[in-house]
Symmetry: C2
DNA sequence: CAGAATCCTCGACGATACTG
DNA sequence: CAGTATCGTCGAGGATTCTG
């Protein structure tokens, strides 16, 4: 995507996997929980337990993992209050806020075009099911 | 993301997995080859073999699969010319063109912010490595 | 040429149990 | 409360072989 943005020549996979900025972003946000998590953090600092309840169905492991990854990516700030019992708060960094904007763009595109996608899938599956293999349909091609 | 876009209350995972438009889009384009493939199709109709050579490193299986998925999603149009040897051409539909726009937005955000992400990762990893577990470092907090 | 079919690996994610 | 540790599943994607 970066390698051949102007010209469509030959792609180098290795270079792509290393250098393509879009891949980095996609890999960072396309995970199962990342988008929901970022969304759940928009309103401000939240404690771990609250997040877990907010993202109904997430595992502690997945939540910890996703948060850790986002923290490593500089999108989430983790603050530990050394009290008993422990208390940890998570909030979006500036970069994290920017991710919200990015996701807003994706969401906008999605709401505009997902219906077409759904329709296309339905049509495709219908064709695949109904069409009992048109063996001899001599369509006089142009 | 859709379910709780205004209010951050409780998410229903099931509803999210079913209904969230953003998830549909992310799942559709975040695959390993999809972005590169769409990019490789931008210039116009291309034959299978050309695509395979253009996406250096892709397997026939992965290429076929990715193309089939994109076709099912209504983003790619597949045209078969019943000649011998067979000849199949792939091109972007209008929806596919729209995906290019979407990816352009993602790419823009990426080029703007990936450096920060990379830096954050480096800093995080450095901290994790160097810091030899500060067992008894009585830092007079505050 | 443009695939279909098969086998295999590997990482994401869930379930469960334990802890400071 | 906020995790860590361990095990198990499941699907994406690669490698290889075969075909109309």
């Amino acid at each position: 995507m970066d390698t051949a943005s102007d010209q469509c020549t030959t792609f180098s996979v290795d270079a792509y996997m290393r250098d393509c900025a879009s891949r980095t972003v996609l890999d960072a946000i396309a995970n199962k929980w990342t988008c929901l998590l970022v969304d759940a953090l928009r309103a401000g600092p939240v404690r771990f337990g609250v997040l877990r309840r907010r993202l109904d169905g997430i595992t502690q492991k997945s939540l910890t993992q996703t948060l850790r990854t986002l923290e490593r990516d500089g999108m989430v700030i983790r603050t530990v209050y050394p009290t008993i019992p422990p208390r940890v708060e998570y909030e979006l960094s500036e970069l994290g806020m920017s991710v919200v904007s990015l996701m807003k763009g994706i969401k906008h595109w999605a709401e505009e075009h997902v219906p077409e996608i759904v329709a296309a899938r339905a049509a495709f599956d219908r064709r695949a099911t109904e069409e009992p293999v048109p063996i001899s349909t001599p369509t006089p091609a142009g």
